[in-house]
Symmetry: C2
Subunit: 373 residues, 2 copies
């Protein structure tokens, strides 16, 4: 090897060693900050503080002739690590009330996640699942919160069959649809009721920056401590009506799951050489395959329930299918011109979002290429 090249590679090695040292130091300081915030009962993730810090670092970097995007990406990646480690320090408990939290379906994937985070925050959690339903009446008798985390198909029954709850107990569910569970909860319990839809799966390593959609039911003030607890975990909360929620979700959720399922089903029937398909895929097609394939590493029951949860949604899918057919007919009758005409109408509808999504996706696709080697 050329000696100059060897020397420069030694210099890279030295720089990387320094890099490792500084990252380790930064994570240690973050750990201490997490510890202190834990003592002070402050939330770990404060969007405004993070935005401010990032902006400052971008400025420093650009001053040093470094692209702001580079330092921003690296800091965000490092912060992820800090947020994930915070788990090990636990979180401040917002509600001092010693009464237990009951998670019905607490052995399901999402149920387990909430059990874990409530325990990380020092709450006494009573897990109820198929194997110990007989404990339900005693468990809820002095419950602070009863959280329903059963499959969507069973949610309404489980709610309807709940024993009497303390009048000040908060009744909540985490189902991906909200109108029917909320109605069921309001009918069963006369106290505080709130609907929750966590916009994340059980696989998330941290709740920081995750979103929970909240559909108020009754006596919202009584659930304030719960919302504050989410904030301590770093969760962002969006409040909307159950109707708004279900309408928006049918638009993204059912469409996404069903069309991903059909795509996978279609591929398995066409039966191409999957390995070759993956090899030939550019980042964007690889991403497509990934988002379809990942579905099938998960529970078919879960997706069946989400898709079946609401007949209105299936009628919306029928309209989608009809439109797909219309587009094929358009291609056959008017060809290129007809397609381009409709394309431009849709582009108008997306407006500035189209450009925004393109920019965002370019960065994302670049990230997926980074990992090749």
């Amino acid at each position: 090897m050329d000696p100059r090249l060897a020397a420069l590679r030694d210099a890279i090695d030295a720089a990387d060693a320094e890099l490792v040292r500084i990252l380790a130091k930064r994570l240690e300081i973050s750990r201490e900050i997490g510890q202190l915030k834990h003592e002070l009962g402050q939330p770990l993730y404060v969007p405004s503080r993070e935005a401010e810090l990032i902006a400052g670092r971008r400025a420093d970097a650009e001053h040093a002739g470094l692209p702001g995007d580079l330092i921003e990406d690296i800091l965000r990646r490092t912060m992820r690590e800090s947020y994930q480690r915070q788990k090990h320090q636990g979180f401040r408990r917002v509600n001092p009330d010693q009464r237990p939290i009951v998670v019905v379906g607490g052995k399901g994937a999402l149920g387990q996640l909430f059990v874990k985070w409530f325990e990380l925050s020092g709450y006494a959690v009573h897990v109820i699942d198929k194997d110990n339903q007989n404990e339900l009446p005693t468990a809820v008798s002095d419950a602070l919160l009863v959280l329903i985390a059963v499959p969507v198909a069973q949610t309404e029954d489980v709610i309807a069959n709940l024993p009497e709850l303390p009048s000040d107990c908060v009744l909540a569910d985490v189902t991906s649809i909200k109108q029917k569970p909320l109605q069921a909860m309001l009918a069963r319990h006369s106290g505080p009721v709130i609907g929750l839809h966590p916009m994340f799966g059980p696989s998330v390593p941290t709740l920081a920056k995750q979103t929970i959609l909240v559909t108020p039911g009754r006596d919202h003030a009584a659930s304030d401590w719960l919302i504050q607890q989410f904030a301590i975990w770093g969760v962002q909360v969006h409040s909307l009506t159950a109707e708004q929620h279900d309408k928006a979700m049918s638009m993204i959720q059912v469409m996404r799951h069903l069309s991903s399922f059909v795509y996978g089903y279609h591929l398995s029937k066409e039966n191409p050489d999957l390995e070759q398909l993956v090899q030939l895929s550019s980042p964007i097609y690889r991403l497509e395959l990934m988002m379809v394939g990942r579905l099938f590493a998960q529970s078919g029951e879960l997706y069946a329930d989400i898709i079946q949860s609401d007949q209105d949604k299936l009628s919306m899918v029928r309209r989608y299918l009809k439109r797909f057919d219309d587009v094929l007919k358009l291609l056959e009758t008017e060809g290129r011109e007809g397609f381009v005409r409709e394309f431009e109408k849709v582009a108008l509808w997306f407006g500035p979002y189209a450009e925004g999504f393109l920019r965002e996706s370019i960065n994302l696709l670049q990230h997926t290429s980074d990992s090749r080697s």
Copy 2:
């Protein structure tokens, strides 16, 4: 603010300042390596060397109590910066032959990209487009390479109408379908012929780690210099037959573009509040919206051409639609059980890829959450 917190934040500021300093230093050393490799005529991106370096750094990091993934992600992000900067230093020119490269359609998005990269490598490039077609005969008369980069719908005509090329001139195209263009090129030119399909869009900031699919036509050896030039740019090459190529592409390309288009078309007809949709989207739905919306920031003509390029592909889409319909019927007749049964069959078909895709997507989705604040 608590003085202890203030002190720790100062420590974070200091660590980040050091981080910026080291990243700047590393980029400078990379620049010198790039410069040297340019002089030595070595490719910038060598997969084996990168993999080796990453493995070593992961070990060092884990030795220092740092997760290997963290240092790997950060190094890959930093290397991206180095690869992008290499553009400014130019690339070694593999073929010393002084004759020009002619890019027909050189003012189109993809054409411009190749013009730029050939020029970065010191080749004389003659750009032919609508406005100067009269120059084509003179331009090709002593051409080293004639690259066809016109819209797919025009490719065959443009090739058929090419003037006589020098017998040793390489004739190549960059169309997203390969059988028909390759046949047209073999029919028109008796010399070296090669089909190329760049698996990237004009927006890529660097060609390092990008892929070009190669479908050999005639006298492959005569195109060796071109393949080597791609390697110098950091491009990875996959060779396959035009038939294999078109079959695989119809599976991913047309399906992806058409279903994304119909999804956007569907959304615009359902006309939900897009801003609210985006707000409510979890990373995975946001990704979905992004991949659909980005389409409409691009050229409708381009997508019309890709989708129309091959009737067999549309018949494949018809099969997809039929299956979509079958699935809806299945949901109506057999409900949950039927869905889950088919789901498990597809899961079997994906085999270990499902798990792999899920893991990969979790990291990717985490990356998209990182950027929130």
